[in-house]
Every structure is written in structure tokens, then in C-alpha cells.
């Protein structure tokens, strides 16, 4: 189960990077947003993806972008949404 979720996330992130002509490899621990590799528009896509696919609730105002800043972070968030 864990593996499959992670694959979907990786797939999605790879798609976003590809949209930006970024064909470089992405490590699971690598920063995506804080590093500037992805921008705010991509962040909207990630939020939409996580809401729709995994039912994550982003309405909590204290939510930090760091929580979705890498594939590792996103996988952890899905495993433990609270």
C-alpha cells in the first residue's frame, strides 16, 4: 500500500516537473518548493491532487508548505494526516 501511494505521488510530481521542462531526477528527500524547483501554480496542483486523491484537508491555517516540500514529506502526510 505504502509503495503504491508513493508511486502515485512520484508520478504526479514528475508530471509537474515535466511541465516545466525539468527532466532531472528527483530524490524522495529533495526540496520541491522551498528550493524553487516548483512554483506556486504547481503548489495549487499538488494541493488539489492531495485533496482529491487522498482526502487531505488543507483548511487548517497553520499548515506549512514544508509539509509538502518533498516526496518523503507528502508520503508522511498521507500516512498520518493529523
Amino acid at each position: 500500500m505504502e509503495l503504491s501511494d508513493r508511486t502515485r505521488i512520484k508520478d504526479f510530481i514528475a508530471g509537474l516537473l515535466l511541465n516545466r521542462d525539468d527532466r532531472g531526477a528527483v530524490e524522495d528527500s529533495e526540496s520541491l518548493f522551498v528550493s524553487g524547483r516548483l512554483d506556486s501554480l504547481s503548489a495549487v496542483e499538488v494541493v488539489a491532487f492531495l485533496e482529491e486523491t487522498f482526502g487531505i484537508d488543507f483548511s487548517d491555517v497553520d499548515f506549512e508548505i514544508e509539509k509538502i516540500d518533498s516526496i518523503d514529506h507528502i508520503a508522511a502526510l498521507i500516512a498520518n494526516p493529523a
Binding site: 508511486t7 508520478d11 516545466r20 521542462d21 518548493f33 522551498v34 512554483d39 506556486s40 501554480l41 503548489a43 495549487v44 494541493v47 488539489a48 485533496e51 482529491e52 486523491t53 488543507f58 483548511s59 491555517v61 499548515f63 506549512e64 508548505i65
Partner: protein
């Protein structure tokens, strides 16, 4: 009767409620390529059920808050966070001096409306507010991002002086109905509507704006991306990024994809003219191209709109329109004839003419052409366009006021230009020959795009593990007619 996998997959897809028709073929590398005619009723139903508009806005809001929190690129109390405005071409921040020009010209436009009581929807970190508010009696700034608003008080303090006229509120654009009727003479919405999820949302907001704006007031809608130039813009970005060895057929695909997956609300100037058919309160519409000097997507592909809720007291001038010929002949006409007014139609626009020509050329270019060859061919195209700044300078030299309009909404991006001796002459500008009341013709459809992308995702999961091996991505595109079939 045995079926091959392609037919089986087609059948399976057509059993999904979101699919009207499906066509599957195998590509040369044995991947499935799927074309879908979506079931429009299904998509619409999903949009309604999901409250897609609301959801999309919440997502933007979340992200705006993130990006404004912590890292802030606001410099010297300008209200401009230059770290968040990236060029579509380079994906790097647009240079600060270009953003300052953009801000200053916008401030000038708004001040020309003589604002006294202002509502700014989406004031962000305050680039306009900090400049305009001191010249008004009352300035209400609202934004859906609390983090953005938080940066404003500190900047006001840094700038000094009295800011008693300013009040700030965290609010979305469509929750302004609590303001009293006729509260404001000027409502400003700059670089905001591109985040709107749909035409319906825009209409809801505009309805509320009109109610709270005084009958003599104006609505300034700034920094609108020009839908009439969307194809030229999409190509210009993709061409900039493309590797020289890429084939033109690949480039075409990228451009198509960019156009089909447009997630921002983009509007043709004709849209704002057509609004008059739905909102009788709108008496006048001005479509103002950007007049900055820098060569960037803001100047080249965006414009400002002023909706006037009452006609001006001045009589409107209805000039005789000359078709543009050459800059020399215009110079001659102004210099020799010294007319009170000279109105020029179809003035070719040097800022976009190459991009427009490139898009036309792309359609007829053989598939095997490389991007390198395509660029070389384009380089040979004769250019006849004139830069708005050139005409501004010409007018200033000969003692004329020069004004521009994009109201004709031509897909070649040409302008109408007036040289006039007198200041503040109100002109009846040229408009498209016909204007449809069907507003959706003139705008992009972000929520429609969202629902199609959602359906694509649903279909991926629907077929995976059934006929398609796990983790294999299928290439799904949405079409109006299946290829190989006639209409």
C-alpha cells in the same frame, strides 16, 4: 466472438459514466493512446457536486498564504513581492525594475479616475494601496490571503504619514455583499481575475461590485491576460523553451497542451464589451493596452479595463478612422495637416506580430521541420509593426495626446490609436463588428479544465489493474470528434 485488447479497452471505457465515446490505438512503442469524448453532463454534475469553484479558490488561498508566510521578497515598502512573479518564459522572477514599471503605470491609470472612496479587491501585499490610498478619503483593501495583508501595516509604518483612510479585511472577492449600496466610487481589481475559477464566479463578483459602486463610479480591472492572443502567447513561450532539435509536430503538441490545460481565467477584450448586454449599468468600456517599455509578457499580452457605470458629461467624439499605412505617412499627416484629431485603425503591433505570424506559420509547417529551422524561417518574416512607445514619443514631439485601445479584439493584436490636440477627449473606439451575448465564447474555462483533468485521473484508475497492467500510464486526451471519423 473474440476481441482484441484495443476493442476491449474501448468497451470498458465506454461503460464509464464520464465517457461518451472512446477510441484506443497502440502507439509505435506499444503504449495505449486513448481519445475520449467526455460526457458533458457528467462533468457538469461533478462540478456542481464538488463545489469546484469554492474548492479551487481555497486551494489558491492555501498556497498564497504559504508563499507569503516566512519568505517575503517585499523590498523597501513597495508592497511588491518580486519573489512571486515569475516569467512564463524563463520561470525566473521578472526583474524588479520591470515590476516597478508595471506597478507605476497601473497606479497612474487608477489615479486618472480621481478615486475618492476605493475598494481594492485582492490588494495582496499592497503595491497599489500603498501608493494610491494617501490620495483618497477612504481605501478598503481586501484579500483572501491573511498572510499577504499582514505585511501591509508594517510597510505603512515604514513609509510614515497618516494612514487613517485605510482599512484591511480578509475576504474573498465574492463576499463583498455586506458593503452598503453605493459605498465606493472606484473599485479596483488588479491582477486578480486570473485566479477566478469560472465565468460564473466572475459574474457573481461583478454583480456585487456593481451594487456597491456609486452610479457615477468606475471599476478598474487590471492586468487581464488577452484571450484573443492566447495561441500566440502559448507558442511564444513553448518556442522560447524548445530545444533546437525538437520537431515542429512535437512543438505543436506542447502548444495544444498548454492551450487545452489553461487553468487561469483569461479574457478577450470583447468579453468586457459584451458584458454591457448583461449589465445595463455599464455605460462605457475602455480597453487599455499596457504602455510600458519593457519587453515582457505583462506589457505584450495583458491589458487593463475600465468599466464606467455612467457616461461622461463630455460629448463623445466619433472620429473618422484611417487605416494604418506607414509611420512616415502618419508623421507627414500630423506635421503637414496639423489635424485636431487623427484616428488610426489596425495599427500593427510590433510587440506581438512575430508571435502571431509564428502561430499561423506553425499550422502549415511540415511535421519534420526542426525548431531550429522554424526559428530561422520566422527570422525572415518582414516586420511592419510599430511599438506603442514610438507613437507616444511621436505625439509628444508634435504636441499631441496619444491614446490606445484594444477594444477591436483582433487576433493579430493590432491597436487603434488616436492623436488628439485636446486633453481628455472621450472617443467612441472601434469594436468588433459583431458581439455575441454568449460570454463563454470570450473567456477560458478553468473549472472545465479541472473537471476534465479529474476525469482523466479517474479513468486512469478505472482501467488500471483491469485491462492495463498496474502502474502503466495511458495517454488520455479529450477530443470533440474521434480521429479517423468524419463529423
Amino acid at each position: 466472438m473474440s476481441q482484441n485488447p484495443v476493442q476491449q479497452l474501448e468497451q470498458l471505457l465506454e461503460q464509464h459514466p464520464g465517457v461518451l465515446r472512446a477510441a484506443v490505438h497502440k502507439s509505435t512503442d506499444h503504449k495505449f493512446v486513448v481519445q475520449i469524448i467526455p460526457n458533458q453532463d457528467y462533468l457538469n454534475r461533478q462540478l456542481r457536486e464538488d463545489g469546484e469553484d469554492r474548492k479551487r479558490l481555497k486551494q489558491w488561498q492555501t498556497v498564497y498564504n504559504w508563499f507569503e508566510k516566512g519568505k517575503s521578497g517585499i523590498s523597501e515598502n513597495t508592497g511588491l513581492d518580486t519573489s512571486i512573479w515569475n516569467s512564463s518564459y524563463t520561470r525566473k522572477p521578472i526583474p524588479r525594475e520591470e515590476m516597478l514599471e508595471w506597478r507605476d503605470l497601473t497606479v497612474q491609470q487608477i489615479l486618472s479616475l480621481n478615486p475618492v472612496e476605493v475598494l481594492e479587491i485582492g490588494c495582496g501585499t499592497g503595491p497599489l494601496l500603498l501608493r494610491i490610498a494617501p490620495k483618497t478619503k477612504r481605501y478598503v483593501g481586501i484579500d483572501f490571503s491573511a498572510s499577504s495583508l499582514k505585511s501591509i501595516p508594517g510597510q505603512m509604518e515604514g513609509l510614515g504619514g497618516s494612514w487613517d483612510m485605510v482599512s484591511l479585511e480578509e475576504r474573498a472577492a465574492d463576499s463583498i455583499s455586506e458593503f452598503r449600496e453605493d459605498s465606493f466610487d472606484t473599485v479596483v481589481m488588479n491582477s486578480v481575475i486570473q485566479c477566478f475559477p469560472s465565468l460564473e464566479y466572475f459574474k457573481r463578483v461583478l454583480g456585487q461590485i456593481i451594487r456597491i459602486t456609486k452610479p457615477c463610479g468606475s471599476v478598474f480591472i487590471g492586468d487581464v491576460r488577452n484571450y484573443a492572443l492566447s495561441p500566440a502567447f502559448a507558442l511564444s513561450v513553448e518556442l522560447y523553451r524548445a530545444a533546437p532539435s525538437m520537431s515542429v509536430s512535437e512543438l505543436r503538441k506542447l502548444v495544444q497542451k498548454r492551450l487545452l490545460t489553461e487553468r487561469e481565467f483569461v479574457a478577450s477584450p470583447a468579453f468586457f464589451l459584451a458584458l454591457r448586454q448583461h449589465y445595463p449599468e455599464i455605460a462605457g468600456v475602455k480597453i487599455l493596452p499596457k504602455l510600458g517599455q519593457f519587453n515582457n509578457e505583462l506589457n505584450n499580452f495583458r491589458y487593463d479595463v475600465i468599466l464606467q457605470l455612467a457616461t461622461t458629461k463630455n460629448n463623445l467624439t466619433n472620429p473618422f478612422w484611417y487605416d494604418w499605412s506607414t509611420q512616415e505617412s502618419v508623421q507627414q499627416q500630423l506635421f503637414d495637416g496639423k489635424p485636431e484629431i487623427l484616428a488610426l485603425s489596425r495599427v500593427p503591433n510590433s510587440r506581438v506580430e512575430k508571435d502571431v505570424a509564428a502561430f499561423a506559420f506553425l499550422a502549415k509547417c511540415p511535421d519534420s521541420t526542426t525548431v531550429d529551422e522554424f526559428r530561422a524561417e520566422l527570422g525572415k518574416y518582414p516586420t511592419i509593426g510599430v511599438h506603442p512607445r514610438t507613437l507616444l514619443t511621436l505625439g509628444a514631439t508634435l504636441g499631441y495626446q496619444v491614446s490606445f485601445s484594444w477594444a477591436s479584439s483582433r487576433p493579430d493584436g493590432s491597436h487603434e490609436v488616436i492623436f488628439c490636440r485636446e486633453k481628455n477627449t472621450d472617443i467612441i473606439w472601434q469594436e468588433p463588428d459583431t458581439l455575441s451575448g454568449e460570454l463563454s465564447r470570450y473567456v477560458s474555462d478553468p473549472s472545465g479544465v479541472t473537471s476534465r483533468l479529474n476525469l482523466a485521473r479517474q479513468l486512469q484508475e478505472y482501467i488500471q489493474g483491469k485491462l492495463v497492467p498496474n502502474e502503466l500510464r495511458v495517454d488520455i486526451t479529450f477530443v470533440e470528434t474521434l480521429s479517423g471519423e468524419c463529423n
